[in-house]
């Protein structure tokens, strides 16, 4: 910082901030006094003191010097220019005074404002930046103006001056100015917190607004400045395709201006990125719009190339001023700008350009001093000086603008590591951190650390993991960090949290409160892992702890579930780890109540407990156990299986219970019934009806079991009746089984064959038949037909119809059979005849 006075032996003072050797967070101030440039008259040193005290100490020092007649360098010149005949010069000098921040400029600026020249908005903005409360009355008046530029300047000045009363009026007027639908929508949401549902509601309202009102509403919301409004504005600007069109661009510019006055880096980054991307292709539009200056409507080119260039250059000028006058804010805003770029913002390289050649701000911030690049100020493009040369940068080379500012205020580098999606930006931040600020990761917040874990650059992830390792002590875990990680919406972060939770299992599996929190987590993976870890720890837990936990888990299971599945971890713990304790606590009635009326988790736990109570068989009765065996809950079914398994004698005397289970919709219950019917319980007791009943099922596994039983007990069954019944089955699989049985076992004679005539017809007239089945049937009919005349009649009837189908291969076989039958029995009616 430099200060100046026009008279006296010392007219120039330069104040420099210097780090204290060996102490990263301590600094000292060096003050050099000159008569004129190059003529040093004395040097003083102040400090050392903590970095946090810098601004206060600088203010003290400048106040001392001001009392001696010094002012900030440039102030006097600007104060002279503020009365220039040129409005442009007056405006620029006012803005410069605002940036310099010397409060001696306040009164001259207020005096200037009373003249109400066209530079008035700039003067009010400057007064806002100066932060002197004497400007509040003027700002309030301006904030109530109709003209957008003056109203904006007044409102933003009031915000910068911290005038709560004035801002309340501004907000109220802004709400009143909103279109009716948006006003209603805005009043219906809680503006103080950023809520996803509220944002979605506002988006829905925004989408239905008239095109001319949409961005006007957006600017007004940004003027209100509530967190929800700002978040909504950022979201719309980041996603809206046409912010450069008429009726929109004017308000987008206004929002950009407001963002610079507030030093709102994120909004600034969103708008400048969209402007950079839109500038890549011709996007100007001709439209008749009303001038903000004189209120006249004119045919105007909106978002023309000069406008784009002006906005892009103005954005960089703003960043330069930040670097010079508010260096701490520079790195924050620059980091926000860099973090806003996405990999898809790259372009295919053309000519001497590379992927980022046309992204002006990116190049200014990050690659300004890259010797391999050349910047064209006319086109704002950065191109490669020699594309064929593949010279790598030296590891120590600094290409970014204001490297000293980055060194002095490196904290936003963490923002870049956590949020930047572009690899080059990540590389820049990581290089700076590893080379110059190795201690910085220790200052990262939990949220930043979580962001770094999902960075696109692997080395950043490694850095985050090493920091995580450093911070995480399994014996004394950082619970706050774990909570942030577990609440993160990204699955990969929650997986990291689960991994950490596993490492520190010993620290929480003995703490019932934490255990309940983790096992009852909304995240399914976490719930499941926590339950597994608890189950692993329970065998070695103290009996009193197990009892206490059992009571707590029981209370949770008996209460209604707050959301579906949230208690499934407790059900596992109860079933697999605390069965003994719960059996001791619960009576049979309570278990049944859990099964009948409890949540799904309660049913699971109750079912598991019931399975170990064989005395329940008598109490429940067969019908109740049957219903349980068909329950939707696997554990309840399993308990029913266990109970049925302990009542084999009863099942042997009445196997129809198992017969009912064979057609249950649950595979495990069916498999259980099959197992018993294959082994200890004899299905033959059910007779032909039972076995055919199994085959009659619609389920393929039951049919298969039925076939197996039919073959196993075939000798004991009435084969004719069995065939007759199987022949009615509509399934092609059973039909094939029946065909095989018929071919092998059909009784001799016309009666048996004619009984299956419809069956054979169905087998042959299936639109998608089994070829082998057809061959079997045709051959069988031929063979049986040749035995006697009456069977020949049946065979001729069926084959006579089949021979008219268009199957080429089977046609000859069927015709051959018919001819043979006709030759053997010429008197039988047939579609073929014998000629002499």
């Amino acid at each position: 910082m430099r200060m100046f006075r026009p008279t006296g032996p010392e007219r120039l003072v330069a104040i420099a901030v210097e780090p204290v050797a060996g102490s990263a967070d301590r600094i000292s101030l060096r003050v050099q006094r000159f008569f004129k440039r190059g003529a040093l008259t004395g040097t003083e040193a102040y400090g050392p003191f903590a970095l946090d005290e810098l601004e206060d100490r600088l203010a003290d020092l400048s106040d001392d010097l001001a009392s001696a007649g010094f002012t900030r360098a440039g102030v006097r010149a600007m104060l002279d220019r503020i009365n220039s005949p040129s409005a442009r010069r007056r405006a620029l000098s006012a803005l410069r005074l605002g940036w310099i921040g010397d409060r001696t400029a306040v009164d001259p600026l207020i005096d200037r404002a009373t003249l109400e020249g066209t530079e008035l908005s700039c003067v009010v903005e400057a007064l806002g930046r100066l932060g002197d409360s004497t400007a509040v009355p003027l700002a309030r008046v301006e904030a109530a103006r109709k003209l957008l530029s003056r109203r904006r300047a007044g409102a933003e000045a009031l915000r910068a001056l911290g005038d709560a009363e004035g801002m309340a009026e501004v907000s109220q007027r802004a709400v009143d100015r909103l279109p009716q639908a948006m006003r209603d929508g805005w009043k219906a949401v809680d503006a103080s917190a950023v809520d996803e549902d509220a944002l979605t509601d506002l988006e829905a309202v925004f989408a239905h607004l008239d095109v001319k009102e949409q961005f006007l509403a957006l600017d007004t919301l940004y003027e209100i400045g509530a967190p929800l409004a700002v978040a909504f504005v950022r979201r719309v600007l980041a996603t809206h395709a046409d912010l450069h069109r008429p009726h929109r661009w004017r308000y987008t510019k206004s929002i950009l201006r407001r963002a610079t006055l507030r030093d709102d880096g994120e909004t600034f980054a969103v708008v400048t990125r969209r402007v950079e991307l839109l500038s890549r292709k011709p996007s100007a539009t001709m439209a008749v719009v009303k001038s903000g200056l004189d209120g006249q409507s004119r045919q105007t080119r909106v978002f023309s190339t000069p406008t784009q260039r002006h906005v892009r250059k103005a954005a960089w000028r703003y960043l330069e001023r930040l670097a010079r006058y508010r260096p701490a804010r520079y790195t924050e805003v620059a980091a926000a700008v860099l973090a806003a770029y996405r990999p898809e913002d790259r372009e295919l390289p053309k000519g001497n350009g590379d992927e980022w050649s046309r992204v002006y701000l990116y190049n200014r911030i990050l690659r300004r001093f890259d010797g391999r690049l050349f910047f064209n100020p006319k086109t704002l493009r950065t191109s490669v000086v020699n594309p064929k040369a593949k010279a790598a940068l030296l590891p120590t080379a600094r290409t970014e603008s204001f490297p000293l500012v980055w060194d002095a205020y490196p904290r936003p580098l963490l923002t870049l590591l956590a949020e930047a999606k572009v690899v080059e930006v990540q590389q820049f931040a990581l290089r700076a951190v590893t080379a110059r600020h190795p201690e910085l990761p220790r200052l990262a917040t939990a949220r930043q650390l979580v962001g770094m874990l999902t960075a696109v650059f692997p080395d950043t992830v490694t850095l985050a993991l090493s920091e995580l390792d450093r911070r995480f002590n399994p014996l004394a875990p950082d619970w706050a960090l774990l909570e942030v990680m577990m609440a993160d919406e990204r699955a990969v972060i929650r997986e990291h949290a689960v991994a950490l939770l596993t490492r520190c299992a010993d620290a929480w599996t003995t703490d019932i409160e934490r255990l309940v929190g983790f096992v009852g987590s909304p995240d399914a993976l976490l719930r499941s892992t926590a339950a597994s870890l608890v189950l692993a720890a329970l065998p070695t837990a103290d009996p009193w702890f197990r009892r206490e936990l059992a009571e707590r888990v029981l209370a949770i299971l008996q209460a209604p579930e707050t959301s579906e599945g949230i208690n499934d971890g407790f059900a596992r713990v109860a079933r697999d780890g605390l069965a003994e304790e719960l059996n001791a606590i619960l009576g049979l009635d309570e278990i049944l109540a859990m099964i009948d009326r409890g949540s799904t988790a309660a049913k699971v736990a109750g079912g598991a407990l019931l399975g170990s109570r064989p005395e329940a068989v008598d109490l429940l009765g067969t019908d109740r156990i049957l219903a349980m065996a068909m329950s939707d809950i696997a554990a309840v079914r399993q308990s029913a299986h266990a109970l049925l398994g302990s009542a084999l004698a009863r099942l042997r005397s009445d196997p129809s219970v198992l017969f009912a289970l064979t057609d249950c919709e649950w595979k495990d219950t069916r498999a259980f019934a099959f197992e018993l019917l294959r082994g200890p319980v004899d299905v033959a007791a059910l007779g032909l009806d039972g076995i055919v009943g199994l085959c009659d099922s619609n389920r393929t596994d039951v049919q298969e079991f039925g076939r197996e039983m039919a073959l196993k007990h075939f000798d004991a069954l009435d084969s004719a009746a069995l065939l007759q019944r199987l022949a009615e089955h509509p399934s092609p699989v059973i039909r094939r089984f029946a065909v095989d049985l018929a071919v092998a076992h059909l009784k001799e004679g016309f009666v048996a064959l004619s009984g299956l005539e419809a069956f054979f017809r169905r087998a042959l007239l299936d639109v998608m038949p089994d070829r082998r089945e057809k061959v079997l049937v045709v051959d069988f009919l031929r063979e049986r037909g040749l035995r006697d005349e009456r069977q020949a009649e049946v065979a001729s009837r069926v084959l006579g119809e089949f021979v008219r189908t268009r199957g080429k291969g089977d046609f000859e076989r069927a015709l051959d059979a018919l001819v043979r039958l006709k030759l053997q029995y010429p008197q039988v009616d047939s579609v073929v005849g014998v000629s002499a």
């Binding site: 790259r346 295919l348 992927e355 009806d689 039972g690 009615e728 509509p730 639109v767 008219r804």
Partner: protein, 562 residues
């Protein structure tokens, strides 16, 4: 129109070892129609109902492929390409390739690990889909208990096929009691599965009753309600089917094996290019042939399918894949009648299964559905005016007898055949009656739960006839009113009149329609030189010039009568 289906019970089938009980729950919000009996041939019923179900769930409309997955893949490729733009060094590329390969391995491992989960999820979604689909979209069949038969009627999901199962009471060995009426039945996929367990060796009780099987579900009542947005067009679909059935149809009797040959060919051949018509080549005195386009493969029908018409006809019909819904009934069918209306016009397949008649009416092509397509077959019919009193008299007569021919009913009402026929046409139009093509009789069939009132009768007759209410009908009236119709030739034929004329259209140009009508004024055939008729023929109903010529003819008839 939101129609509420309220089922106090649940349709279902309980198959015991020796007895089966079939219970259809009827819509409690409708007539208390019921039926209780014991079936003689349950397998016949099973096969017919299986075919009905295949019609109900069939959807042969074109559905474009879902390309979401492909688009997601494309986006991923774009993302990869853009993300890799900055990585120029070979080393970086090699490292990225190695990482990608590793990621693929890990992805595959994750997929394998999660396979049971994905399978369960797919099963769950399938269950949800089926459940919700049945609950919200499937229109339950309309069941009517007639004095001589039970009938089930339904449209396919694409609304291009109409099916009717008519069960004669001979199918039952014992009928305990019944009350005539029309209602809906609860018909689900699960019920279809259970139907397939019906066997002749089990005594089969068959009940149509509001309580169905009264099977109380575990832990609650089995009460089930559906609220389906029944489109007006669905009701219109019933009318269109009735209208098409009363057209002058060309009838062919084919054998089940002929249908088998058609279905078999269709199962084995899928046309990838147009034309995709099924071409009926009918030559007088010869067996009918069906030619499948585009392969030009011909299937000759059996001896019973000899065409007895006066001149050769070639009729092309589309949407042939819909025939596959008949595949189940081929082995049990005794004979099949095919009714053809003309090229691009509906086809009706009437399968005689003995005690059951299965009717399948197919619209001209799949997209030209019965219920909302462009078909306007009601325009082809012509009816006389009827007063509300005549309408209620006819309805009372039909309600009394429940069924009857137009001649028979005219004797009951004393209104005369033409008047009765017109009144029946009105009743069909308002969903109070239906025409049974198989039996050749009109039947009472109430599509709506509300009783037919005088008010509705007045509304029915005051509402203009379809031929007059339609835009084409109105234009025809305009043309006729401005003396734009000139009948150039008119000769009586065996089944009505043949006409040709010159009609000055509303656009000022003259067109030359030719028309064949029966004695009642129903259009049997028609052509016109206008562009619309040249493009559509009769597939979307007659043009205004044809209708105007018919108006001229009817006017002449009246003048001659007086």
């Amino acid at each position: 129109m939101i129609v509420e289906f309220k089922y106090a019970g649940q349709s279902g089938i309980v198959s015991g070892l020796r007895e089966t009980r079939v219970g259809f729950a009827t819509n409690a919000a409708r007539d208390p129609a019921f039926f209780r009996g014991t079936m003689r041939s349950p397998t016949l019923f099973r096969e017919a109902m299986a075919s009905l179900y295949s019609v109900v769930v069939s959807d042969y409309k074109y559905h474009p492929r879902d390309r979401l997955a492909f688009k997601a893949w494309l986006d991923e490729q774009d993302r990869k390409f853009l993300a890799n733009l900055g990585n120029r060094t070979e080393q970086a590329k090699v490292r990225i390739a190695a990482l990608e390969a590793r990621r693929e391995v890990l992805d595959q491992q994750r997929i394998n690990r999660l396979k049971p989960f994905y399978r369960s999820r797919a099963e769950y979604f399938e269950w949800v889909y089926t459940h919700q689909y049945e609950l919200n979209y499937l229109l339950d069949p309309v069941i009517t208990v007639h004095p001589d038969e039970l009938s089930f009627e339904a449209f396919s999901r694409d609304e291009s096929s109409y099916a009717r199962v008519g069960m004669k009471y001979d199918l039952f060995e014992k009928i305990d009691e019944f009350a005539c009426g029309t209602t809906n039945i609860d018909f689900s996929a699960a019920l279809h599965g259970e139907l397939s367990r019906m066997r002749s060796y089990r005594r089969t009780r068959f009940d149509i009753d509001p309580t169905g099987l009264s099977m109380a579900a575990e832990g609650g009542s089995s009460h089930k309600e559906k609220k389906i947005d029944l489109p007006e067009s669905w009701v219109k679909g019933f009318l269109q089917v009735q209208s098409s059935m009363t057209l002058g149809l060309t009838r062919l009797r084919i054998e089940p094996v002929d249908l088998y040959n058609l279905c078999r060919f269709l199962k084995r051949h899928k046309a990838r290019t147009s034309p995709r018509a099924m071409r009926w080549e009918l030559v007088p005195g010869k067996r009918a042939r069906v030619v499948f386009e585009p392969w030009e493969e011909a299937v000759e029908m059996g001896a019973s399918a000899v065409f007895d018409g006066p001149k050769p006809l070639t009729i092309r019909t589309w949407g042939r894949d819909r025939l596959s819904t008949l595949a189940r009934i081929i082995p049990i069918a005794q004979r099949i009648d095919v009714f053809l209306a003309g090229t691009g016009l509906p086809t009706v397949w009437l399968a005689d299964l003995g005690e059951i008649t299965f009717t399948l009416a197919l619209s001209g092509w799949t997209d030209n559905d019965w219920t909302s397509g462009a078909g306007r077959f009601d325009l082809l019919s012509r009816r006389m005016d009827a007063s509300p009193l005549e309408l209620t008299t006819t309805w009372d007569a039909l309600k009394l007898t429940r069924r009857g021919t137009d001649v028979g009913l005219s004797q009951v009402t004393g209104l005369g055949v033409e008047k009765t026929r017109s009144a029946l046409s009105y009743l069909c139009q308002v969903g109070r009656a239906m025409y049974d093509l198989g039996g050749g009789v009109y039947r009472q069939r109430e599509l709506f739960p509300e009783p037919f009132t005088v008010k509705e009768a007045i509304a029915a007759v005051v509402a203009p006839a379809p031929s007059e209410a339609s835009p084409a009908g109105q234009r025809a009236q305009t043309i006729f009113g401005s003396n734009g119709v000139l009948i150039t030739a008119r000769r009586p034929v065996s089944n009505g009149y043949k006409l040709s004329g010159s009609v000055k259209g509303v656009d000022g140009y003259r067109y030359r329609p030719m028309l064949g009508v029966d004695a009642a004024g129903r259009i049997l055939e028609a052509t016109c030189t206008c562009a619309w008729s040249q493009k559509h023929g009769l597939t979307q109903g007659p043009c205004e010039h044809v209708l105007a010529l018919r108006l001229g003819h009817m006017h002449r008839l009246e003048a001659e009568g007086s």
